[in-house]
């Protein structure tokens, strides 16, 4: 009896922190969203964050987008050759990129670049009492720090995804044209015809949802930082891991919904 009571108490102690963390995350998200409809709006901060997150990520997104299209085309052309259907490679590249890889790869890159950046910046501010100073000087840190990052990520990530998709298709085209020997029309027609509105919709919905998760997870771990510089490192690591895992969980959920829509 005593033993089971202890085990129950232990289990409760074990479960309390994660449940409390989820609750805190919801509270933070709720306040960040509520601030969308309340002043003051820090337009300058939003613009700065858009520059850091959007423009700053552009080179790496273009690079990774191009090579993912490049690689998919090489791999798929070999598989399609067995059925004598290499002329359909544009279709496969388009569907894979627009539906799944474009959004997910871009989100992972932005999670690596910006969830970590946000967590370490906010974490450093937390441990050097800048967050407390902000509150003492009459500014809501969520309004000033979290909401602008959330807005900036939600605007920029879908745009980055569109760029990644397009550059990926160009990467595929390079292989299709030079290595497989397809004509320009063959490749682009098959790529274009493969896409339905459903694909575009999920291709744009995903990055939008990822953006919420990436920015809020980064802010969440940043604002919870304790324990000096070591704590900042830990917060950064946790933010990247959590953001990346959630990207995969959410893409699975959204894909499940859209696959059933047919």
């Amino acid at each position: 009896m005593l033993a089971s009571g202890n085990a129950g108490a232990l289990l409760l102690d074990f479960l309390k922190p994660p449940v409390a963390a989820i609750q805190d995350f919801y509270v933070l998200s709720g306040r960040a969203l509520r601030n969308l409809f309340r002043g003051p709006h820090y337009v300058e901060d939003i613009a700065i964050q858009m520059d850091i997150i959007g423009v700053g990520s552009l080179p790496i997104v273009i690079l990774i987008g191009f090579f993912s299209g490049f690689v998919i085309t090489m791999q798929m052309s070999r598989a399609l050759a067995q059925y004598g259907a290499t002329d359909q490679v544009g279709q496969i590249v388009a569907i894979t990129l627009v539906r799944e890889l474009g959004p997910v790869l871009t989100a992972l890159l932005v999670a690596g670049r910006n969830a970590s950046g946000i967590a370490s910046e906010l974490g450093s501010m937390k441990v050097t009492e800048q967050i407390d100073a902000m509150r003492a000087l009459g500014t809501d840190p969520i309004q000033k720090l979290v909401t602008p990052r959330m807005i900036a990520t939600c605007v920029m990530l879908p745009m980055l995804t569109i760029v990644a998709d397009f550059v990926g298709l160009i990467g595929g085209y390079v292989i299709a044209y030079f290595s497989i020997g397809l004509t320009t029309t063959q490749y682009w027609t098959s790529a274009y015809q493969a896409l339905a509105y459903n694909d575009i919709a999920q291709g744009l919905l995903k990055p939008f949802v990822f953006a919420f998760i990436i920015s809020l997870v980064g802010c969440f771990y940043g604002l919870r930082t304790t324990g000096g510089t070591q704590g900042v490192g830990l917060a950064t690591t946790k933010a990247v891991v959590a953001a990346s895992v959630w990207v995969f969980v959410i893409t699975s959920l959204i894909t499940r919904v859209f696959v059933n829509l047919h």
């Binding site: 100073a133 000087l137 009459g138 500014t139």
Partner: protein, 264 residues
């Protein structure tokens, strides 16, 4: 302003009026910073009540606190400056972010310059906090705390980690602020000398220097407290001593005695 029991604090209670100074001494982790943060609602107490300028702040929401906090200047440990903006923007921050009448950077520039001149750092206007030394950051922190001329200023370990000369400069600024604006002061520190300076010196506006408070003549002698400075010693979230400098020095308590240098 009065405090009652707080998480890391237990049965702490006192009031602070204009021109008063309260020096809180205590070992690391004794609840000094918690006390200071609770005073402006950055940390919420589990029980008890906190009044700031006559308003009970314990049950207020964050947005309601902003207005009340605009009457308080805070110097955080290490300064708490925003390192993404310049010294000028840091010092202008309290003026630009007041909810009622926000001003532009141009409008507040004279005040910002004056506050920086007060701490003798006018030349750093365009610099970033990371380019300044520890003592200079602390001085900019003081400029930011006092730029809006708040009636109450809180200082969290203003001299921690500084060499004795810089520490004295910082304390002299705090005395100067108190005596030129008649502010109420709460100073949290580990250094007895900080409190001693607050208790025994006054800023003379005409000469621009600090001078011993008792030389002004009125009372003098043991037991007088011309600067209205009260010492508090904290241990594990409790106040174990409260009284004037003379009472502090006369205390027989071992813990309290640790903060008073022995005169041989």
């Amino acid at each position: 302003m009065s405090f009652d029991e707080i998480v890391a604090l237990d049965s702490v209670s006192f009031e602070l009026h204009a021109g008063d100074t309260r020096v809180v001494l205590g070992a690391a982790g004794s609840g000094k910073t918690t006390l200071l943060k609770a005073a402006i609602g950055l940390i919420r107490p589990d029980g008890g009540k906190i009044y700031l300028f006559g308003n009970e702040i314990t049950g207020l929401k964050e947005a309601q606190l902003f207005h009340i906090r605009s009457g308080v200047g805070v110097l955080f440990q290490e300064g708490g400056l925003f390192d993404s903006v310049t010294v000028e923007e840091n010092v202008a921050y309290p003026l630009l972010n007041r909810t009622e009448h926000p001003e532009t950077l141009q409008e507040v520039e004279p005040k910002v310059r004056e506050a920086l001149r007060f701490v003798e750092l006018e030349q750093t206007l365009e610099q970033y906090p990371s380019e300044l030394s520890g003592g200079m950051r602390r001085r900019v922190g003081i400029a930011r705390a006092v730029v809006s001329e708040p009636p109450l200023v809180l200082y969290d370990s203003p001299t921690a980690g500084l060499d004795p000369i810089t520490a004295n400069t910082i304390m002299a600024l705090i005395v100067k602020e108190r005596d030129s604006k008649n502010t109420a002061n709460l100073i949290v520190t580990q250094r007895y000398q900080d409190g001693q300076l607050m208790a025994n010196f006054r800023y003379n506006r005409s000469s621009g220097h600090l001078e011993p408070a008792s030389s002004n003549g009125a009372q003098g002698g043991n037991g007088s407290n011309p600067t209205r400075t009260i010492f508090m010693v904290m241990k594990d979230g409790r106040v174990v001593f409260e009284g004037t400098q003379h009472e502090l020095e006369a205390s027989q308590d071992d813990y309290v005695q640790k903060f008073v240098p022995k005169h041989s």
